[in-house]
Symmetry: C2
Subunit: 368 residues, 2 copies
């Protein structure tokens, strides 16, 4: 059975465990983004070594290459990418709107052309759900419209209504299986009344979990946190809450403080490929000449391969030479750092000292 067990709360922050057909997920949890069936620059073993328990796959990318039907014929995404653990897939809707060409959206769904070869495709709530089924996603997402920012109240309300009609169709298309889940997505832009309406509407459909979408799209951290303060309490306490596409370490802790359980973001992996490191002393760019003779570890508090075995000077050298090992090691570190952050948050919530953990961690970022 798919379930969420809430072990402890500390203020609004929650520590829990999600049980799935593919294993348990201690929360709060950061999911590693594995766009096209691979976490960029990482073997599956390396991803596991970071402490990641869930990998995210992108429906848009996978439906184009290698195609959902081909993934299914290869035994599903778990087998294809050597990730027997839980996999969450998005609906494809967000990337259709941000990457595809010649998009045309109507009540039925979205017709678009691939950004790769111009081929025509159609994504509807039913097809998105079918694709995610073919991929064998542990957690599927409903097809929604990620309301652009900024939006007028009327635009946001109209967009949200479409998302709700599509949520009903997505739910009807979903084939329940033990240990599998489908999450609804709360939209509503920056309007409190819409966020409350969305949470209540979706909660009534009894999804296995709830995502909060349409945030971190330019509204700023204060507004995002304000929307979480409104939305989280409206969601069922016995279901996991997933904040989509967020964010920086500071975004994560602030969102955990407001009751979010799950996150995904390309930030740690993308930053790792461009020499930017997230550490307990803040963000560093390893291309910076100040590191050329720095024999110390990237982050002395980090247990990862990169920090345990190599110097900042070596990382600087690797990026200067454009060696693939630079992105490999820094992605390893960044993902490990994000996991450590979530593990630290969880331990602090369980011990009833989350506020101290949050403050201490933020102070560390400022001292770099």
């Amino acid at each position: 059975m798919f379930s969420y067990t809430l072990h402890a709360t500390d203020g609004a922050a929650r520590a829990g465990t999600i049980a799935t057909a593919h294993g348990d997920v201690p929360t709060p949890s950061f999911m590693a983004v594995g766009t096209a069936g691979t976490v960029k620059a990482m073997t599956a073993d390396a991803v596991r070594a970071t402490g990641a328990r869930v990998v995210l796959g992108n429906t848009y990318h996978l439906m184009l290459r290698p195609t959902a039907e081909r993934v299914a014929s290869l035994g599903g995404l778990h087998k294809m990418m050597d990730w027997p653990g839980p996999i969450l897939t998005d609906s494809g809707g967000f990337q259709v709107m941000s990457l595809a060409k010649l998009r045309k959206m109507d009540e039925a769904g979205v017709t678009f052309r691939s950004h790769l070869d111009g081929s025509a495709h159609f994504l509807s709530p039913e097809r998105s759900t079918e694709i995610q089924h073919l991929l064998d996603a542990t957690i599927s997402m409903v097809l929604d419209e990620c309301t652009p920012h900024p939006a007028t109240y009327d635009e946001a309300a109209s967009s949200m209504a479409l998302t709700h009609r599509w949520a009903v169709r997505s739910r009807a298309a979903f084939q329940p299986r033990a240990g599998y889940a489908q999450f609804g997505i709360v939209q509503g832009s920056t309007y409190e009344v819409l966020r409350r309406d969305a949470a209540a509407t979706l909660a009534a459909q009894n999804f296995e979990g709830y995502a909060i979408g349409g945030l971190a799209v330019g509204e700023g951290q204060d507004t995002m946190f304000a929307m979480l303060d409104i939305t989280a309490p409206c969601l069922p306490a016995q279901k996991p809450r997933y904040l989509m596409g967020v964010g920086t370490p500071d975004d994560l802790l602030g969102s955990v403080a407001r009751g979010v359980d799950m996150f995904d973001c390309v930030m740690p992996t993308r930053a790792g490929r461009t020499a930017r490191a997230f550490t307990s002393h803040g963000i560093f760019n390893l291309r910076n000449a100040r590191f050329i003779d720095d024999a110390g570890p990237l982050d002395e508090a980090c247990p990862c391969l990169c920090c345990a075995r190599h110097s900042r000077a070596y990382l600087h050298h690797l990026f200067r030479c454009e060696e693939m090992l630079g992105p490999i090691l820094l992605t390893t570190h960044n993902l490990t750092y994000y996991q450590s952050l979530m593990q630290g948050a969880r331990a602090a919530i369980l011990a009833g000292r989350f506020e101290t953990y949050y403050a201490t961690t933020r102070a560390g970022w400022a001292d770099g």
Copy 2:
């Protein structure tokens, strides 16, 4: 102490063990090329998992970036790249001639400009030896001139004479340490009399080992093998023999058959980055559309991560999407394949059945 122990011969093929300050090396041995202080696309752990026992560093690349002095200040190449095992460095001479700009060679050495930033540098037998010392190379190479192919007899003789004068200077500059070695390099182009002369001249200097250089430069496999047939018997039986920059799996087995103990080549790593796989069934290009639905392993005989966990279809997908995991997995496989080939050769020599191993392996390549 640095030593070579010959355990068995089978025809001219040899099985032995090289003992060094940084560990033992069973031979025949293929060394993984780690140009700029990293085996491209591989963590040090991943290189170890392929079975590689020696890594090669390139003096030319390292003297430019991060510089030999900086490597020394970081504790040497072993520590910098997390490779406590044996490291062999080349002299830098070959790459000065193939990569650097505005080269000017005279009796003293080579003045050149970096291909990276045009900065001026000087490499002499003494400086090359000093750089390799700073890098903390387990095995250093003398500075030689790799005679271009084709060369007239007079050109080859003159080039070889320079190599011999530089060998004397390199030897004088070398600081002996227990478990460390310096190898002389046999040149002589495709002239039997020169090859014999070179082997005898260098043998008299009592290097810890001997390299055979100036081959695999366009002369063809038949000529290369003919030169090995001439050269190997002229080298001391109680010293290791290293064929520089060679080669294909077929080159390796043919050279082992002729008494070579050590190899290095960029082929398995470079091929791995361009979707070419060396397997027990020959060479495949994983970009080929024939693999798009191939759920089988790349090489069912191979124990590596790539073959044990993934399908050819997944590898095809990764290269098609230009995902870094493609080069990572295929480099892992190719290096593992090269190591397996050398391990198989060694076991066959020890069992007195090298000829059968050689024939069976070649038959496998033909059946793909």
